[in-house]
Every structure is written in C-alpha cells, then in structure tokens.
Symmetry: C2
Subunit: 384 residues, 2 copies
C-alpha cells in the first residue's frame, strides 16, 4: 500500500537487465565490438522510450532518477538563461521546490503559485505569475502525496499563447513547460507530442524498474545547461559512463507499464474507490485529501483527526500493511507535509494524515485486510 | 586489456546486490520494517566503505558514479564559496576540467597547472598557482590514460602549510584538497586519514562494481553546495532515493578490491613490465607515455609512430584484444587526447597512441597473446 514510495523490480525487467549486470560490461564509449553491443543496448532502450513518449531518441537524456531529472530540468533551463524567472506550484516535489533558493542566489527569481483546496493548480493563477522574464513553468503531472492530476494540457495551451504573444511583440525569450511525471507513469498518457510539454522527468523506481535510473525528455531546441560535465555522454547534457543495465531496465519497465496502463488504471481505480468508500464509512470524521475525481487511480490520502500519521504507519506495519504519512522522500522530517498545508490543512490535520497507494500487488483481499485492520487502529489511537 | 574503461561486475558483488534488486525494494526513507531493512543495508554499506577509507560513515556521500562525484566536489565547494579560485592540473579527467568554464561564468576563477613531460604534477607549480582566493586544489590520484600516480601526500602537506600561513595571517578562507581516485581504486591506498585529503571520489564501475554507483568522501566541516536538491538524502548533500543495490555493490566491490590490493598490484605490475619490455623490443620506435615508475600497476600507454590509434584498437579487437586509444570517456571525439598533448606529445603522436590496462582477467597467456598479435598489426599499419 505504498507503491508511490517504491515499487518492486518486475522480474521481466530484472531479466532484461541481467546480461548487462553479468557478462556484458563494456563501456559503451569504447571502440571494440563488445562496446558496440552495450552501446546498442543503450540506444535500443532509448528508442523504446522515445517511441512510448512520442519523442525523438535524441530527446531522451538518461539520468540517475527522478530527482536528477527534475534538477536538470529546472537548474538546466534557468542556468542557460541568466537572470530569468520561473513559475512552479506550491505542491511540487522537493526536487523542484528545493531549486528555488539556490537559483535565487544565482540571480533567478521564482514564483510559487498556490493551489486550490482540492490540490489542483489553477491555470489562470499560473498565467498571472508569468512575466516577460519567465522561461520555465514546472508543474507535476500528478502529485505524489495526494495524487491530484494537474491540468498539463491547459498549461501547454497557456504556453503556446504566451509564445505567440511574445513572438508578435518581437520578444525573443523562450518559455518551456516541464512536468515531473514520476508518479503519473503507468497511469497517465506520457506522450509528449500530445501533452505538448518541453521537458518531462521519469523515475525507474516508481514504475517497477530499477532504482538509480530515470530519464529527462528534452524537446529538441531547448537550451539546457548540464548539471554534470565530463565525457560528453547523452549529447553533452549528462556526462558519465552510461548505466547500461539501468537504461535497459527503465525501457523494459516503461514498456510493460504502458502496455498495462489502461487495464491497470481501471482495476486500481475500482479498488481505490472501494477503499475510500469503506474506510470513510468505517472511520468517523475521515476526509479525503485532493480532488476525488482528478486523482491517480492508485492514490488515496486521508486525514483522520485524532490519529497521528507516524503511529498509523507503525500500527499498520504491525498488521502487515505498508503505508506512508505523506511522501517517503522527506527523510526523517517531522515537519508537516508542505503539500497538505498547501491545501489549507492545519499542521495538526496534516500530521493526522495517511497515504495509501495501490499497485500491481494490490487485490481485493488486500483491500479487505486494510478495511479490517485500520478502523480498530484508529479507535485505539484516538483513545490514546 | 581495457580495464580502465570498464570492469566486469564481480560475481560476489552481484550476489550481494541481488536481494536488493529482487525482493527488498522498500524506499529506505519509509517508516515500516521493510524500509528499515533497506535503510540498514545502505548504512551497512556506508560503514564498510568508511572503514576502508578511514573515514566516518557520515562523511560518505553516495553518488551515481565518478563523474557525479567529481562534479559535486568541484562545483559543490566552489558554489559554497562565491567568487573563489581553484587549482587543478592539465591532465585531469573531463569531469574536472569540464567544470572550469561554467564555474568561470559564475564568477569562479581556475588555474590549470601544466604537468611535467612524465605526466607528474609538480607540487611547486601548484603552490605557485595558489592565491589567497583559492579554496580548492583538485588533482587526481592516478591518471586514467597514462597511469601516472600524482604526489597527493605532498599536495596535502602543501595544503597544511597554506592553511597554517592563512591562519597566522588571520585569513579566514578554507583550502580543500580533492582527489579523483577512480583509477587508483584497487591499486593504491585510499585511506583518507593517511592521505589527508578532504574530498575523494570513487566509481563502482572501475572496480568490478556496478555502473551508476560511486561515492564522494567529504571530510566533516567541508562546506559543499549540493548538485541536486530534494528529499535531503545523504544529509542534504545528495538528494534522491538511494540506489540500495548500487550502494551495497559498491561496498562489496571496494571490500574485495582492498583485500586483493597488494597481491593484485604486485602481480599486475610484473605482467605490465613484461608487456612493456616485450612490446618495446618487438615494435621499433615505441615509447612509453608517463613515468615508468610512478604509474598504476595495470597501465601501459604507448606511442607507436606510424600507427593510428583507432586502427590499432580495431585490428586488436579482430584478434580478441580489447584496448583503447586513450580514455573511453570522450565519446566519439576525434580530438587528440588532452592528456598526451599535456605531456608535450604532438597531435600526430597523440593519435598514434594505445592504452592497455590490465586487470583480474589478465594472465601470462593474455600477455603472450598481445605480444604475438600487436607487432604484425603495427607492421601492417605502417605499410598502409
């Protein structure tokens, strides 16, 4: 019940990776035959990923994961445009929001746009934040804590409108749209040509692929300064010897996720709705965080007043259920979730929250089990 | 014969990684029992690595490889000290030299100190380059192309002297010493307390460990700005979900390499010297690049006038020998090696160079084979 934090490596992904963990180890940049084979493996993975994303292979940059992809998108675009401005939302992952202050020290301003109480970014609010200095809008495709699906298509329309207006006024400043699709992968359409995004980051470990592997899609023509310099791999956008097994695993993982996307989304949305219905019925005063409709099919985030989040997680673990208070990404932090606060929750409410995220392993029996064990835990915690 | 470009994953390393590729996938930042297990695996790996390096576990920062470690050291220290100066050598890896220009645009000056014709950095030349603005000296432990072992202990003495002088003059600017130990791992002593370095980067894929895994040792008290922001993993110095299998594999790889270091260095130095002797005897006008004594036990770099490097590599591959023209890290680059040029080689000489790097798989029979096949190849190439 914590698939948003980590997913198991699909055995078929592991199988695809295995040759590159065992025998085939050549550095893809070497000149001999064995290296051409690892190079081909990386390029075949790139082609597979590009096909699924509706991108060109040259637009795929392999990274070490979601955090690197987000940082490369934001720092990369801003550093390529000195003194520029960017716009993001108050419920982004810390990999985005963490860039605000260091980039400010380098002379780049940011506007952090608040969200509606249902966790959705209002396109008009983003529009009001855009100035003639803005080069980047970064809004996640779906939120990691509350699953809220953001209006990326509408934001793409806004970007097109701003570009047309700038062009008409002879203003030469570009405007790019980045979306963090780490949580959306496997559930939403990631086709960048349909989405009309310029940058999109993905993380292998959230889609039954390997940890330490991800990608950033970078639309051709997008000016981007690398985070790391060196041997010039990934067309100079990400130096470092390619993680061959990681790239192969990421491609296999996205391939499998894309094939199962519609059926799995349908299946999980049903289980999720059932879980929301039964839990809110069984536990008085429970409310759902985030929009009930525009949310990932695998996510439910509940605020259960009188029960502390960490305690709920530990009691649930004792009953064989893995859950989360919010994001697993804010290590050891005792601060209330910035996402829940951004929805207007009080710190006390934010700390009384529980995230359950379903996945391939979740079946009807798992739902029954949670519905059986959670209500008595809440009764006990409320007594304490 | 190209172990400096890539090493196979040791089966014992693969075995150590396997549980974290298969069943144990929890995000180490989650709160439940399964996550405590992956957290413990990461921390046990950190302890193992710290022990071998003579460091504290909190001083180990896991990275995605050597390039990231180098970039984090250089960009990290410089960005934490606005408007500062740093000193490096002309034969560093591109992961170091590639930082010069972008950091200059951010207001950081660099001095690139030339090396002696034998590939060694002269400590006095580094000393002359140090100013009151200098915060970092970055010199690799051993060069990736010519194997030259740099005087790190002497540089540490210089750093201590500069620090004492600054302290006496009431100058509050720190001076740190970084060394890229990617190629040295497995052959040289990496004990940071004995070396007295402040930062040291390692790469798993060069020491029979996994690709996409490395570390940066950061001495306590060293001010360092992260490359990536986010969940605050690695004590805020490197955000991103930990690559658990990568960390475990890196620790196992360094453990095995450290245990075999002395015997393997002795064995390979013998084979290397034999190979140098027999090849220079069999191929007229062949010269060794880099100091003959102060070099890695597994490295020989030859300039063979009249034979083009890429052709030598392809002909050797045809005879089952994997070799390199220089570094595998400068993807598809046709420029002559900056390292060989820095030794005073002409572009033509640099392009007539061959790097052979021995490793665990190299035995007497492999030496015999190279000595048998290379001389006729050179005759043929010189005819062409």
């Amino acid at each position: 019940m914590d698939h948003a934090a980590a997913t198991p490596l699909d055995p078929r992904v592991f199988e695809a990776m295995q040759p590159y963990l065992a025998g085939q180890f050549a550095n893809p940049s070497s000149l001999y035959g064995a290296a051409r084979e690892t190079r081909q493996a990386v390029e075949a993975a790139r082609h597979t990923l590009a096909n699924i994303l509706g991108a060109k292979p040259t637009e795929i940059v392999f990274t070490s994961g979601g955090t690197e992809g987000d940082n490369l998108a934001v720092q990369g675009v801003l550093r390529a445009h000195p003194g520029a401005h960017w716009v993001t939302s108050s419920i982004e992952h810390d990999a985005i929001l963490g860039c605000v202050e260091p980039l400010m020290r380098e002379g780049h301003e940011a506007t952090i746009v608040p969200v509606e109480p249902n966790g959705l970014v209002e396109v008009a609010a983003i529009e009001r934040a855009v100035t003639d200095q803005t080069v980047l809008i970064s809004v996640m495709m779906a939120n990691n804590e509350i699953g809220a699906i953001q209006p990326i298509a509408e934001l793409a329309k806004l970007v097109a409108k701003v570009r047309a207006d700038r062009s008409q006024r002879g203003l030469d400043r570009p405007l790019y749209l980045h979306t963090d699709a780490a949580q959306a992968a496997g559930y939403l359409d990631l086709h960048v040509a349909r989405l009309r995004v310029d940058l999109l980051s993905l993380n292998g470990s959230k889609l039954y692929g390997p940890k330490g592997a991800g990608l950033l899609y970078v639309r051709q023509g997008t000016r981007l300064e690398p985070l790391m310099y060196g041997g010039g791999q990934e067309r100079g956008r990400r130096s470092g010897t390619e993680n061959v097994a990681g790239a192969v695993g990421l491609a296999k993982a996205l391939e499998l996720a894309a094939a199962a996307r519609e059926s799995e989304s349908h299946r999980l949305a049903g289980l999720r709705d059932e879980l929301i219905r039964r839990l809110t019925a069984a536990i008085p005063h429970t409310t759902l965080n985030g929009d009930p409709k525009r949310r990932l099919p695998n996510n439910l985030s509940l605020t259960i007043p009188g029960a502390e989040g960490e305690a709920m997680v530990l009691y649930l673990d004792n009953h064989g259920v893995q859950a989360s208070t919010g994001s697993a990404c804010s290590t050891g932090s005792l601060d209330p979730s910035h996402v829940l606060l951004a929805l207007g929750r009080t710190p006390a409410e934010a700390n009384a929250s529980l995230r359950l995220t379903l996945g391939r392993a979740t079946d009807e029996a798992a739902i029954d089990h949670v519905v059986k064990v959670l209500p008595p835990i809440i009764v006990r915690l409320r007594e304490l």
